[in-house]
């Protein structure tokens, strides 16, 4: 049995402490230790995006982050996207546009798209497709997902839900996908 390391972090605006083995991924801790199973595992090697979370403003595949790296970080998971006042405009748009079928990739798409719209609520189709290229969906053909993100962007531009669209872990100065893509 490996030695466990104490980690102090913030998840969805709540301070969380957990013990992790050095080999455990953040995804494993979130799902199995903390019981937050909204973040999904599709490949465990950073290729499908189902486990997307936002850490200090950057969207990352949580399967490729070691749990001990979460020390002192500010993490947003799908469970933190809706608020007591209601669904986030993206969640509402996914429902209205039927942008999910089986739904397993949906949490990852919503967390990733939220990060985009907080920076660029006017993102066009090409930008959205570029941003979401790290999230695989096998059911929808992406058409309705892209439309839902466009619609949510419009809603957020109008101010509906803008107040709750940004959490502490929401917008950040840089983004991983910008670094990789630009």
């Amino acid at each position: 049995m490996s030695e466990k390391i104490h980690v102090h972090t913030t998840i969805n605006d709540t301070e969380v402490d957990f013990l992790a083995e050095s080999r455990q991924s953040l995804l494993e801790i979130i799902r199995d230790t903390l019981g937050m199973t909204g973040t999904k595992e599709g490949c465990n090697d950073g290729n499908c995006g189902a486990c997307t979370v936002n850490i200090d403003g950057r969207i990352v595949d949580s399967c490729c982050v070691l749990a001990v790296e979460a020390e002192g970080k500010n993490i947003l998971t799908i469970e933190g996207v809706a608020s007591p006042e209601g669904l986030h405009p993206l969640q509402q748009a996914f429902l209205e546009e039927a942008a999910l079928q089986c739904g397993i990739c949906t949490p990852g798409f919503i967390v990733a798209a939220k990060s985009l719209l907080e920076r660029e609520p006017n993102a066009d189709e090409a930008r959205i497709r570029h941003w979401l290229a790290g999230n695989l969906c096998r059911c929808t053909g992406y058409d309705k997902i892209v439309r839902a993100v466009l619609k949510a962007g419009e809603v957020m531009n109008q101010g509906d839900g803008a107040g709750r669209a940004t959490t502490a872990a929401g917008a950040g100065p840089t983004d991983q996908r910008d670094v990789y893509n630009d």
């Binding site: 937050m36 199973t37 999904k40 999910l100 397993i104 096998r138």
Partner: protein, 768 residues
């Protein structure tokens, strides 16, 4: 856009609920992360199971030594095929199929037949310890020659995978066929014919012959297989699993473990994609055995690599087509030879290919030979319209080329030969009420088909895809009326894609309620009548019919309550537009809600169950048009425009019909352009990750325009047909036709990767 063909059933505005787009009932759980899928179980005292898999594609197992693994701290149990009673009870007869064969695929007994074949399983206190323990299991293998594909398998003197597999011959669809007694890797040969092809080819002015090849590909569902089993000592076995069919799992687990079905409860978790591939389970009996051995719940989750290497993909194929036509386009004969790789055990979707390939056309002389061939690859499983896409790739590519040879428009050639109601397909079965011509007419008239292509290196491809749906395997449904006038709808049909809402809408339509007033639930095997798996495009149709029947019982029973209150006979009560009316005194009326509130004082709750086995979801046609531009420097294909057509009879929820069309198109595009298993000569999959097995991303695709065609199906009260499968068929040939036209070379092997395109262009330029 929706094109309505049949005014009798698809008329806009005819229905209040069907054809509208309510938010799905299970949506909020799925956008907030609350929905629980296969791997989302966490139980007290739960252990984790992992599977040891064969490193060899073909080997005999001499011995398995698990002692070191069992000694590792944290390891609680190890299981092998010795722990599966059905394997101990009888020898494998691979030609027979059934649960004995499934068991062999769950844990190999004497032989491993593909790289990734399960050999042993470990239960430990953490998944990491279980993995460490796998490395401590010593398996002594006698490595045998790899029979990598159909070519090697069908060679004279080929190494045989199974000592006791003999070739069966059948001349009719269905049935076991006649045992030829020949030991072979060819498990079965199906031959269907009509007329006389030799005579037919004599009558032809133009004949095309070509061979088409496709590779092993995977369904690519994003959720890996996962289940949790809890076997209470001396008590019942409960399994929480992500599957397309809970009752199928129950039956197989009972047979493999040799316990009564009554001792088993299968609880469905949300399913993160299946596409046919999750009709078969792999983990459940193993998890059950480990639970029995340890007395703890066991959770097992596959890795992505295990999904690729250890679950059923779809067949690699080789299909020869010979097709002849007169100058006016009349097809006089078609002959196809269709080889489907089954993988390690018999049971490829060859029959689907044979029965569908040219069945949308009226051809008097047809001869089709299909072969189901075992080889050292994972045992194939169903994938959306099983066997059809490979067959259509061959047949519809051939039609495209034939049209060129005849100087005809490709849609005109199809329309010239399209089958009409009553025409017999090669199966011998006459086409029922099926809108083949109607779909083709809509495709040909669509603006996309005639829009200017513009620019060099561009091509437009068109193709259709015909699917013979079966259905009728059985669906049960129960409706309970609540005092507030809403109803709970209970079914056993796993919801892969939005079928809850599509079925609930049919109940709402029947009862005069809104979609939101029906609460659909998918429940466990103890809580609903037997229901066949979610597959074959049958759920919205079959489970819809069962639910409508239950709703009609609700109307009958509630009508009787109204009669009691009005002191008239039940036949004096009518139900019109959601209102119960007394025909003796038309001032006596109850809304559904008013009457629902009186049930407890008029005799108690109303609960109605019904089942349906009629079938009749029927065949239907889909089609695709693609515009592509090929970069001659890199071989990259850009999809400029994409339109998909589908005859749905009557759309229940149009958004989810469109979703099926768009998703099928995506999978078909992946199959056509990118996806394939790369095998080393030793039979090891070299690209078993989602990085190297290249599925389409959002960046690869344009918007996918949809045209829903509603040619009503008389076998459903509201005219529905199936939606799930057809949309994956036509994209393969349509894309191949588009690329072939763009580069001026016929592409007859999938995937049409950039490398293949560059090679084809280079060859063309060299030959100039």
């Amino acid at each position: 856009m929706t094109t309505t063909i049949d005014k009798t059933a698809g008329t806009p505005g005819k229905y209040k609920v069907l054809g509208t787009r309510p938010v799905r009932h299970d949506g909020i759980e799925k956008v907030t992360g609350a929905a629980r899928y296969g791997a989302d179980m966490n139980m007290p005292e739960m252990l984790h199971g992992k599977i040891l898999r064969s490193p060899h594609a073909h080997a005999r197992i001499r011995s398995i030594d698990t002692s070191k693994a069992e000694a590792l701290p944290g390891v609680m149990a190890v299981a092998t095929s010795k722990d599966l009673p059905i394997i101990q009870a009888r020898e494998l007869n691979p030609g027979q199929g059934g649960p004995r064969l499934l068991a062999e695929n769950d844990l190999a007994d004497k032989k491993v037949l593909y790289k990734g074949h399960a050999v042993a399983a470990v239960a430990a206190t953490s998944p990491h310890i279980a993995e460490e323990a796998l490395a401590l299991i010593a398996v002594d293998y006698e490595v045998l020659p790899t029979v990598l594909g159909w070519r090697e398998a069908m060679k004279e003197g080929a190494t045989l995978l199974h000592d006791n597999l003999t070739e069966k011959f059948s001349a009719t669809r269905g049935g076991a066929g006649e045992d030829t007694g020949n030991k072979s890797n060819v498990a079965s040969h199906l031959q269907l014919k009509m007329g006389n092809v030799e005579q037919g080819f004599k009558e032809a002015d133009t004949i095309l012959e070509r061979e088409y090849n496709t590779q092993t590909i995977h369904q690519g569902y994003i959720e890996p297989f996962a289940c949790t089993a809890q076997w209470i000592p001396e008590g019942r076995l409960t399994i929480w699993t992500s599957t397309q069919g809970i009752f199928g799992v129950r039956g197989n687990v009972a047979a493999i473990l040799n316990i009564p079905e009554s001792m088993i409860k299968i609880v469905p978790m949300e399913i993160g994609g299946g596409f046919g591939g999750k009709g078969t389970g792999y983990l459940e009996p193993v998890a059950a055995v480990l639970s029995k051995k340890t007395g703890h719940p066991i959770k097992m989750v596959m890795s992505r690599k295990e999904v690729f290497e250890g679950t059923g993909p779809s067949s690699g194929t080789s299909i020869t087509v010979k097709i002849g036509a007169k100058k006016d386009g009349t097809i006089t004969a078609a002959q196809l030879g269709m080889i489907y790789e089954a993988g390690a055990y018999p049971g490829s979707p060859m029959v689907g290919g044979v029965t569908s390939a040219v069945s949308a056309y009226k051809i008097d002389n047809v001869l089709i030979d299909g072969y189901d061939v075992v080889c050292n690859k994972p045992k194939t499983a169903a994938y959306r319209a099983p066997g059809h896409p490979q067959a259509a790739f061959a047949a519809e590519s051939a039609l495209d080329e034939l049209a060129d040879m005849l100087g005809m428009d490709p849609m005109d050639l199809r329309l010239k030969n399209v089958a009409m109601e009553g025409d017999r397909a090669v199966t011998g079965v006459p086409h029922a009420h099926v809108g083949l011509k109607e779909v083709m007419d809509v495709m040909k008239a669509h603006p996309h088909y005639t829009a200017p292509l513009g620019g060099p290196n561009r091509g437009r491809g068109v193709a259709t895809g015909y699917r013979l749906n079966g259905g009728g395997s059985g669906s049960s449904a129960t409706i309970n009326v609540l005092a507030n006038g809403t109803v709970n709808l209970t079914t056993g049909s796993m919801d892969l894609s939005g079928t809850r809402v599509a079925i609930a809408m049919q109940v709402a339509e029947t009862l005069g309620l809104t979609a939101e007033e029906v609460t659909p639930q998918v429940v466990d095997t103890d809580s609903v009548g037997w229901t066949g798996g979610s597959g074959g495009s049958r759920i919205t149709f079959d489970t819809g019919r069962a639910s409508i029947a239950a709703a009609q019982l609700v109307i009958e029973q509630m009508g009787a309550r109204a009669a009691r209150l009005w002191e008239v006979q039940p036949e004096d009560v009518e139900f019109v537009d959601g209102i119960f009316i007394c025909t003796k005194n038309t001032d006596d009326k109850f809304t559904f809600k008013e009457l629902a509130g009186k049930l407890m004082t008029t005799g108690g709750p109303v609960t109605c169950s019904a089942m349906d086995t009629q079938g009749g979801v029927g065949g239907a046609l889909a089609g695709n048009i693609f515009d592509v531009e090929v970069d001659p420097e890199t071989g990259k294909v850009d999809i400029l425009r994409s339109t998909v057509f589908l005859d749905i009879g009557q759309a229940a929820h149009p958004s989810y019909v469109e979703g099926q069309m768009q998703g099928g198109t995506l999978q078909g595009i992946g199959w056509a352009l990118n996806e394939e298993y790369f095998f080393t000569p030793e039979g090891v999959m070299a690209n078993s990750s989602l990085l190297d097995y290249r599925m389409p991303t959002s960046l690869d695709l344009p918007m996918i325009d949809t045209v829903i065609i509603e040619y009503a199906n008389p076998r459903h009260p509201y005219g529905l047909r199936g939606a799930g499968e057809h949309p994956i068929i036509a994209p393969l040939p349509a894309m191949a036709n588009a690329v072939s036209r763009a580069i001026g070379v016929r592409m007859a092997t999938l995937p049409i990767s950039p490398g293949a395109i560059l090679e084809a262009i280079e060859k063309k330029n060299t030959n100039k």
